[in-house]
């Protein structure tokens, strides 16, 4: 069976109770299935990378460890970053910035897109 390109799109803020944690769990399970897994942080989903004390469980720490799992690429929508007054340097992970055109290309290249 061919490896599928699966993209997880994280677009929601971390302040939604268990939902962010559950999305991370789905992503990590996806990563162990030996597929081509990547993650895109966009809109308020970018805040999931920053941590802070707004949620019971720090998922930011888990996201900074993505490279230790079998996640191939981590992308950030640079327009979403700019709209929130953030820069790539403020993020605790190595993420590739994408323009909106780049986001469209990324989405079009996937076999499956999973939303949070």
């Amino acid at each position: 069976m061919n490896r599928r390109r699966i993209l997880y799109v994280i677009a929601h803020s971390p302040g939604r109770g268990a939902l962010a944690r559950e999305t991370l769990d789905a992503l990590l399970v996806g990563a162990v299935f030996d597929q081509q897994v990547s993650v895109l942080f966009t809109e308020d989903g970018i805040f999931q990378l920053l941590g802070g004390e707004h949620s019971a469980v720090s998922i930011a720490r888990s996201f900074t460890a993505l490279s230790t799992y079998d996640v191939d690429s981590v992308y950030v929508d640079e327009a979403s970053l700019a709209q929130r007054g953030l820069s790539l340097e403020a993020l605790p992970v190595a993420a590739s910035p994408l323009t909106r055109a780049g986001v469209r290309e990324l989405l079009a290249a996937q076999d499956v897109v999973m939303n949070d």
């Binding site: 268990a18 559950e22 789905a26 996806g30 299935f33 597929q35 499956v112 897109v113 939303n115």
Partner: protein, 130 residues
């Protein structure tokens, strides 16, 4: 086409369990196959047999169960999301010493691996977010 459906929203605060059922019916009517319906996040509440719909409202739990039984569709409920929200089958109720089981058949408890398997196997994966 072999279609997998993922549902995220609570039946009491989201349209997603209703929209997903309409989509599933239309898919079958269009000659497609439904690989599996996977309930995640707050959508696991739809499998709760103890929920009582008011008489003048749609009983979405019963509609899903009837649809699945009539068409042999797999209704998969994520175990971690279900435990967190108090939706348990008999095995889980015993394992965690809870007073009763409330998962309505043919909904069945499964793991996240079934979501990934669907993503890998189905021709299309269609998500009904909250």
């Amino acid at each position: 086409m072999n279609i997998a459906i993922v549902v995220h929203g609570s039946p009491s605060s989201s349209e997603s369990t209703f929209a997903a059922l309409r989509f599933a019916r239309a898919a079958l009517a269009g000659g497609h196959h439904i690989h599996r319906v996977f309930f995640y996040h707050d959508a696991v509440h739809v499998a709760n047999a103890y929920a009582v719909a008011p008489q003048d409202e749609t009983d979405i739990t019963r509609l899903w169960a009837e649809f699945a039984s009539a068409n042999q569709i797999e209704l998969a409920v994520c175990v971690a999301a279900a435990l967190r929200r108090g939706v348990l089958n008999a095995d889980e109720a015993e394992r965690y010493s809870r007073a009763g089981a409330n998962l309505l058949p043919p909904f069945q408890i499964t793991g996240l691996g079934q979501l990934v398997e669907a993503a890998i196997t189905a021709d299309r994966l269609v998500t009904f977010a909250a």
